[in-house]
Symmetry: C2
Subunit: 340 residues, 2 copies
C-alpha cells in the first residue's frame, strides 16, 4: 500500500517526460489513442514516483461507481466465503461496494456475468475462473480493454495478470511432512482431476515431501477422489488398502472427513490405524470426531490482498504491466485425526 | 404463473378504460405523472385480464439490463447459499443474470448496496434484511419508486410486500413434536434474541407442541443460546440440567451440534440421556456423530419461488399491490440424535 502524501502531480510527470498533461492522463487510463511506448514510459515513471491520482477527482469522473465486481465459481464453498469476507472488509474501509456473481463452474455464465458487470459500469474485477474455463479470450479482452482485474485462487495460467493465490505445493508438502512426523510411511493421496492446477501442485508437494523423507513413491497409493460421493463410491478400494497403509492426505477437508468415516464404519481406528489430514480448514474440521488435522488456506487474507491490489490499480490508473503475484502459504492445524 | 397466450394488448386496456395508450403504459410502469386512481384502475384491469407486456419489447427498453440484485446478510450461511442456488437456476433458465451484495448485518451497508444496484440499473431486487434493520424507510422508498422487490426469509414485518418465507412456527412445532414422539417430556429450548421474528415464531411453535402434548411449560427450560460460542459459554448451566431434562430443541443446527458435544464431553449420551434436534439442515448435520435430527428449511425452493415472483413483477409490469406471501413448511429429517 502506498501511504505517502500525494506530492507528485500529473504535471510533474508531464514535465519530466516533456509531453502534455492530457497525454499523461490518457496514458495512465490506458487510452487507445496513446502509443504503447508512451504508456510504458508514463506508467513506469508514475509507478517509480508513487504517483496516485487525486481520489476526489477520480470520484467525480462520470464512470466511477465505487463498486467492484467479484466473479466466483460457487459461494457455497467455505473458502470462497472467507475470501469474500476479506474483500468486503477492505472494500468497506476504502469506500467500495462489492457485487458477487456465481459462474456455477460454467464458462458461458462466466462470460455473461462479466458482461453484466461491464454494463453496470463497475470499477474493477476480482475473478476466480470456473473449472470449465479453458479458453481465456474473454478474460484477456477484459484486461486489454483497460479494466482493472485481479485473479485469485483459480487463475489463468498462460496469461500474465495480477494474482493472489494459495501456495498449494507448499501446503501439500507441509501436510504430508506432518503425516511423516507422526510415523506414517505408506501414505495414500486422494487427488482431483489432473487438469486442475491445484491437483498437480498438491500432488507435487506430496511427492516432494515423500522424497525429502526418503520414502519411496508408490503410484498405486495415489487415486482420484475429491468429494464425499467419490469416497463412498470407492469404499472397497480404500478399505482393502488397510493395514498396508498408515496415512491419508486428502486434497480437501470434505474428502478427508468422508475417508475417516468410511474407515470407522469398517472397524478401523483413526488416527491409530490410519492418520488422516485434509486441506482447506472449513468449519467442519472442528466438529467431526476425531477433529480433523488440516492445512488452513488463508482465504480471508487472500481476499483482503486481492482487494488491496485492485484498489491500487483503480486509484493509480490501470497498470496492466508489472504484474504481481502474491502467494499465501497454508498453515498446519494438527488435531485429533493425526494425534499419535 | 401466467402461462396463457398474450391475447390482451395495451390497446384493449386503453379502449376499455377510455384513456390513451401512453397513459396505460405509464400507469403500468408506476410513472409518477399518473394519478394513483388511474394506476389502480389500469393495474386492476391488467391483472384481471392477465395482461403481460410483450417480452421482446420489454427487452428493447433502454433500461432493461436483464440483471437482478440479491441483497443478503451473509453468504457464509448454508441456508443463503441454498436460496441463491434456487434463485440462480430460475434466473439462468429465464435469461437473467444475478448479482449478490452482502450487508454483513449492517443497515448502512444495506442502504449502500441497494443504491449501488440502483446505479447499476438492475431490473429488480430480492432482499433479505439485516439484523440491524429496524427502520424500513429505504426499503419502502424502493417499492414506492416502482422497483420490483421480493423479500425472502427476513422480511419487513410492518410493510406490505411480496414475501417468500419459512414457516418457522410450524417447523418448530414439528421438531418439538418429534422429540415428544420419542419420549421426551422435559425439553429445553435454546433460543435467539427475542427481537428477531424467527426467535418468536420458533418459540411459539415449541410452546404450541408442548401444550398439544399435554406437557406443562417450564419457562426455566428456555434460554438464549444461538451459536457454538454461546453454548460453550453456558456449559455449566446446560450440564447442570441433566438428568432433569431429556430433550433439547435448538434454534439452529450449529447450536444443536455444540450442545451434543458439550453433553458428550461431560459424560452424557445422546440420544440415550438427552435427545437433540436442530433447525436448518446444513451439510454439518450428516457428518457429526451422532448424526443430527433436524427440520430442513427449503432454501432452494424459497429462492426459486422468490425469483419466479420477481420475474412476474418485472415482466408483467410492476404491481405493488396484491402483495403475495408464500410460506414453505420445513420437513423433518430424523437422524441418530433422536433415535431411541
Amino acid at each position: 500500500m502506498m501511504n505517502k502524501p500525494h506530492q507528485i502531480t500529473i504535471k510533474d510527470i508531464a514535465k519530466t517526460l516533456g509531453i502534455s498533461v492530457s497525454t499523461v492522463s490518457r496514458a495512465l487510463k490506458d487510452h487507445p489513442d496513446i502509443s504503447e511506448e508512451t504508456k510504458r514510459q508514463v506508467q513506469q515513471l508514475a509507478s517509480s514516483v508513487n504517483y496516485r491520482p487525486n481520489a476526489l477527482a477520480l470520484g467525480l469522473r462520470k464512470s466511477k461507481t465505487n463498486t467492484i465486481g467479484i466473479v466466483i465459481p460457487e459461494i457455497v464453498h467455505h473458502f470462497f466465503s472467507s475470501v469474500i469476507s476479506g474483500i468486503d472488509d477492505v472494500a468497506y474501509a476504502t469506500g467500495y461496494n462489492t457485487m458477487i456473481c456465481q459462474t456455477n463452474e460454467n464458462v458461458e455464465q462466466e462470460k455473461s456475468n462479466i458482461q453484466a458487470m461491464i454494463d453496470s459500469r463497475i470499477d474493477g474485477f476480482l475473478i476466480s475462473i470456473s473449472k470449465d474455463t479453458t479458453d481465456f479470450s474473454h478474460l484477456k479482452r477484459l484486461q486489454d480493454d483497460g479494466y482493472p482485474v485481479v485473479f485469485f485462487d483459480r487463475v489463468c495460467e498462460d496469461m500474465p495478470s495480477h494474482r493472489v493465490i494459495t501456495d498449494d505445493f507448499e501446503g501439500a508438502r507441509i501436510a504430508t511432512r506432518h503425516l511423516v512426523s507422526v510415523g506414517c510411511r505408506r501414505i495414500v493421496h486422494l487427488t482431483s482431476a489432473p487438469s486442475l492446477v491445484i491437483s498437480r501442485q498438491r500432488r507435487s508437494g506430496y511427492l516432494m515431501a515423500l522424497r525429502e523423507s526418503g520414502i519411496e513413491v508408490d503410484e498405486s497409493l495415489i487415486f482420484q477422489a475429491d468429494s464425499r460421493e467419490s469416497v463412498y463410491a470407492q469404499v472397497e478400494k480404500l478399505v482393502s488398502m488397510v493395514p498396508h497403509i498408515d496415512g491419508i492426505f486428502a486434497i480437501n477437508d470434505m474428502t478427508a472427513i468422508a475417508a475417516i468415516q468410511v474407515l470407522q464404519q469398517n472397524g478401523f481406528r483413526v488416527p491409530e490405524d490410519v492418520a488422516v489430514i485434509g486441506f482447506g480448514d472449513g468449519p467442519m474440521s472442528e466438529i467431526v470426531s476425531p477433529t480433523l488435522s488440516t492445512v488452513e488456506q488463508k482465504g480471508y487474507e487472500i481476499g483482503a490482498e486481492a482487494m488491496r491490489m485492485l484498489t491500487r490499480q483503480i486509484e493509480g490508473g490501470v497498470m496492466n504491466s508489472d504484474f504481481e503475484t502474491r502467494m499465501f502459504t497454508p498453515v498446519l492445524h494438527p488435531r485429533e485425526s493425526t494425534r499419535r
